[in-house]
């Protein structure tokens, strides 16, 4: 079996507090995350803001220095890379950001923007123009956009340019950090479609970061749900949607406003989470979700949950561990209490 394209083991990224007079604890943005992505596959990383999902992506391409753990690309250790490795990483792994506008230089035409990565990777001058046109065509834009400035483009078109720019250096792995969350649904569907086509055509591997679970249903092979710097549940997307096990996954699924009865069947009957995401500087003891979790027991605040494997899905939850029937039994019991029956 060939090595996975990207392998991350026990990755940690702690941000020390600024200033030398403060004694604030470091913010544990990412705290022990492991996953791997095989060639041509898509892993979706799901989580609310502050869960550390973007930090994972930025640590992988060395925007942030790794605190601890291991990152392997094509079997090679690229954790805190040396200079030679940085060049490989930058040409083989590309990041597409959330806000398509702030990623484009407003004073450069699209042509100039797209020429930059070609110059940087040493594509001969005479080939560049042809490559730029080819890139634009690949993302569904025509040559007339070459002379335009970013402000003349709509959000969806800007995101297409960003994708084209990322593809310019012919990367193997794309890290997509909420590529569609700034866009409207009708445009979002277009971009997701484009990404799926590109993957098929170029054999790309994706790490798809988003907060919207419904978006990855048809798109990702595997899904990992992150909360406060840790992956809580990870497994094949299909299985995760059919029977979500972790209370956080269930809460995320049940908070999606759906538009049809068929979709409603996939929203687990779940108690909503209490409160909001706590600060990563002050992570709750035991299971990180316990102050918000509707199923939390005393045990949850005392010890770290172990990872359990059920049907290829890895779940970190004590409450689930205690009751092998999952939460449906718990909820049935809760729903038949006399208080609810009225």
């Amino acid at each position: 079996m060939s090595a996975p394209v990207l392998e991350v083991k026990n990755l940690k990224k702690h941000f020390a507090s600024d200033g030398w007079l403060t004694d604030e604890p470091p913010a544990k943005a990412v705290d022990g995350v492991s996953f791997s992505i095989d060639e041509g596959e898509t892993l979706a990383l799901i989580g609310e803001s502050g869960s550390g999902k973007s930090t994972v992506a930025k640590t992988i391409i060395d925007i942030h220095e790794t605190t601890d753990g291991l990152i392997r690309y094509q079997g090679e250790d690229i954790t805190n890379p040396i200079r030679r490795q940085v060049e490989t990483i930058r040409s083989e792994i590309q990041l597409v950001f959330q806000d398509p506008t702030s990623c484009l230089n407003p004073r450069r035409t699209i042509r100039k923007t797209l020429l930059v990565p070609l110059k940087a990777t040493g594509v001969p001058r005479e080939e560049r123009e042809a490559r730029v046109s080819e890139m634009l065509e690949r993302v569904g834009l025509t040559d007339e956009y070459l002379r335009k400035y970013p402000h003349e483009l709509s959000g969806g078109q800007k995101q297409r340019v960003n994708i084209a720019r990322a593809l310019a250096v012919e990367p193997q792995l794309l890290l997509l950090d909420e590529p569609t969350s700034a866009l409207d649904v009708s445009v979002q569907a277009k971009i997701v479609d484009l990404l799926a086509d590109l993957q098929e055509e170029l054999g790309l591997t994706y790490l798809f970061i988003t907060h919207d679970l419904s978006l990855v249903r048809n798109f990702a092979d595997e899904t990992a749900v992150m909360y406060l710097g840790e992956i809580q549940e990870q497994g094949p997307t299909e299985e995760l949607f059919e029977s979500p096990r972790h209370p956080y996954t269930r809460a995320l699924l049940s908070s999606i406003p759906v538009t049809s009865a068929a979709d409603e069947a996939y929203r687990p009957e779940s108690e909503p989470l209490r409160g909001e995401v706590p600060s990563p500087r002050d992570v709750p003891s035991g299971c990180r979700l316990h102050p918000r979790c509707p199923h939390a027991t005393e045990d949850c605040s005392m010890r770290q949950p172990d990872t359990r494997h059920v049907n290829d899905v890895a779940v970190n939850c004590i409450a689930y561990d205690d009751d092998t029937d999952g939460f449906d039994a718990l909820l049935d019991a809760a729903n038949t209490t006399p208080g609810d029956a009225s």
């Binding site: 065509e137 649904v185 009708s186 048809n218 406003p257 538009t259 049809s260 979709d263």
Partner: protein
């Protein structure tokens, strides 16, 4: 439409004089909110939803804005009111919740001060500075107002209201700020609540809880609500009736369930087909193009450049309105001319076919 509508807007149009020329943003908007009814306006970014509500509440500066049409609220013509009369109405009988929970609270006053002011002075007649100072510093009246604020904060399920009331907005999380704003809007028991994408700036789980809170509060008070959202799922969860807006025009309206089962306008159908599904049902590849330029809008139907059914009729003349029963209507020529009637399934098929055609063109 009954004569009893709480809010009745007819022929509303809004334009802006700008550097690029005159932008004809909102036009021919007819909408009404019955008593005790929850109505949403759904549309994408730049469809004129917020401008419409701002025109209704009189928050647009004229000029540069040009507002025309009638806005009737409980028998009063809002467009005729003087500024002082408006101010009495806003915050008292008309409550508003805005989208961004941080920029709607004043950062230099505590939440308590701001909400107590609303409770004490919201909607009262302007009786001059002296009267204001006397009342502002009257201990008993202030304490009573504060008590009301606390009660309201408890009602919106604010965690630890006694501490929150003396906090500054920056000390609160996004969800708490949004709750404070909802509490503020409800303090004077408004007849009509206008909510502009409440909570959509927040995380999904928090957003969901804000929505269920709103649903509860609305049901409890039997309040009338005009809500704006870009998310059809949210509209489905909360509203009785939906208006779909595109390019500053209302293109369709129907009772909520009807929109999702038998949407009649191609734009609505395209939107519905583009929503990612939890059930894994494949979605259409979105709608080509983007919202129109308001300084130079497309001729005829404003949706025609993006519409999979468009033909010369659509380009040449504004589409007619077709009524379907009492409560539903669609503004699309396809329902009149006997051509192919747009259905959700057909639109989805066409949008997906469009996609494949575009791809094959690129390959060539």
């Amino acid at each position: 439409m009954s004569d009893d509508a709480l809010l009745d807007v007819s022929g509303l149009s809004v334009g802006f004089e700008g550097f690029d020329g005159y932008a004809d943003v909102v036009g021919d908007v007819d909408l009404h909110v019955e008593r005790g009814e929850v109505v949403t306006i759904v549309g994408e970014t730049g469809c004129g939803k917020s401008v419409t509500t701002k025109a209704i509440t009189g928050l647009l500066d004229e000029p540069p804005a040009h507002v025309e049409g009638d806005v009737e609220f409980d028998g009063m013509d809002l467009r005729e009111l003087s500024e002082a009369e408006r101010e009495d109405l806003n915050g008292d009988r008309l409550g508003m919740v805005s989208q961004n929970p941080l920029s709607s609270l004043n950062p230099v006053f505590t939440v308590g001060e701001q909400l107590t002011d609303t409770a004490q002075f919201g909607g009262s007649d302007d009786a001059g500075l002296l009267s204001y100072l006397r009342r502002r510093h009257s201990g008993s009246e202030r304490a009573a107002a504060r008590e009301r604020v606390l009660e309201m904060l408890r009602e919106v399920q604010m965690p630890d209201p006694e501490a929150v009331i003396d906090s500054y907005p920056s000390e609160l999380s996004g969800g708490m700020r949004q709750r404070a704003l909802i509490a503020q809007a409800l303090l004077n028991e408004p007849d009509l609540l206008i909510a502009d994408e409440p909570g959509s700036a927040l995380d999904v789980t928090v957003h969901d809880r804000i929505l269920s809170l709103l649903t509860d509060v609305i049901a409890e008070r039997d309040m009338s609500v005009l809500m704006i959202t870009h998310n059809l799922g949210v509209a489905r969860q909360i509203s009785d009736r939906i208006y779909i807006m595109y390019g500053g025009r209302i293109v369709e309206s129907a009772p909520t369930e009807e929109i999702f089962t038998e949407a009649r306008h191609p734009y609505t159908q395209g939107l519905i087909a583009s929503i990612p599904r939890l059930s894994g049902e494949p979605m259409a590849g979105g709608i080509d193009g983007s919202v129109p330029e308001y300084t130079d809008p497309p001729s005829g139907c404003r949706f025609h450049p993006r519409c999979p059914y468009a033909d010369d009729d659509c380009r040449s003349a504004a589409p007619p309105r077709t009524d379907f029963g009492e409560e539903a209507h669609a503004v699309c020529v396809r329902h009149v001319d006997g051509g192919p009637t747009p259905t959700i399934a057909e639109t989805k098929r066409r949008l997906m076919a469009d996609d494949e055609r575009a791809e094959s063109e690129v390959e060539r």
